[in-house]
């Protein structure tokens, strides 16, 4: 039995705002201290995770709003590329 998938910060990648980017709230992150501008994170949800870059963090009346730039492809494609190039074992 595998370890359950835990995304860094959940979001709906289709839930955009006027920026055209998906967004979510910082306080939904499993470890908010990891959600820094420019960081690569796993987002979406455990059923359909995706990689994203944290585009910005903005103070809003309702909390800190995190905009995410969804990275192309499936997370497994990145893992496969890293395996091919021995990045995981170097």
């Amino acid at each position: 039995m595998g370890v359950p998938i835990e995304v860094d910060i959940p979001c709906d990648p289709t839930q955009i705002d006027h920026t055209g980017m998906p967004w979510t709230f910082l306080d939904e992150a499993a470890h908010p201290e990891r959600i820094l501008q420019g960081a690569i994170v796993v987002t979406g949800d455990a059923e359909d995770p995706v990689f994203a870059r944290v585009a910005s963090l903005t103070e809003r009346p309702t909390g800190v709003k995190v905009h995410l730039e969804i990275l192309p492809g499936d997370p497994l494609e990145y893992v496969e590329a890293m395996r091919r190039s021995h990045l995981l074992t170097a």
Binding site: D12, T14, Q15, G44, D74
Partner: protein
């Protein structure tokens, strides 16, 4: 009320009932509808009350289903479809928000039972053929 009014982000657009397909990206599950609607209501208001809604994509303008799946929904592994007429007939409004083909599908409460009722209007989830898989 601290949420931002959505009214400033509406397009002037009224999709016809029958010609337009409403596509929701996966996971297609009531719990996800609730989670996403509550997040939206925390940030936005519509008509001065919290706006419980989920994002959907519609086949408006140059957008057909394939273009939606390869574009705004390309990160989603699965999708489900309904029609604008079906969701409106069941009492769910469609707000044209931000840039096409994005819409907000409004819920009254954002609660689980309402999410279940909404998803009954959609067909079975199908895999998104435009999402690439690494192997």
């Amino acid at each position: 009320m601290v949420g931002e009014p959505i009214e400033g982000y509406l397009r002037d657009e009224e999709p016809p009932d029958d010609a337009v397909v409403v596509v929701r990206g996966g996971p297609i599950a009531p719990a996800k509808v609730v989670e996403h609607a509550q997040r939206q209501a925390r940030e936005y208001t519509y008509r001065n009350v919290p706006m419980y809604s989920i994002s959907v994509s519609l086949t408006v303008g140059r957008w057909d289903v394939s273009a939606l799946l390869a574009g705004p929904l390309s990160s989603r592994s699965a999708f489900a479809v309904s029609t604008a007429g079906a969701v409106r007939a069941a009492g769910f409004a469609l707000l044209p928000t931000y840039d096409a083909p994005h819409y907000d599908l409004l819920l009254a409460t954002g609660e689980y039972r309402e999410a279940e009722a909404l998803l009954r209007l959609f067909g079975s989830p199908e895999p998104n053929p435009y999402k690439r898989r690494g192997r």
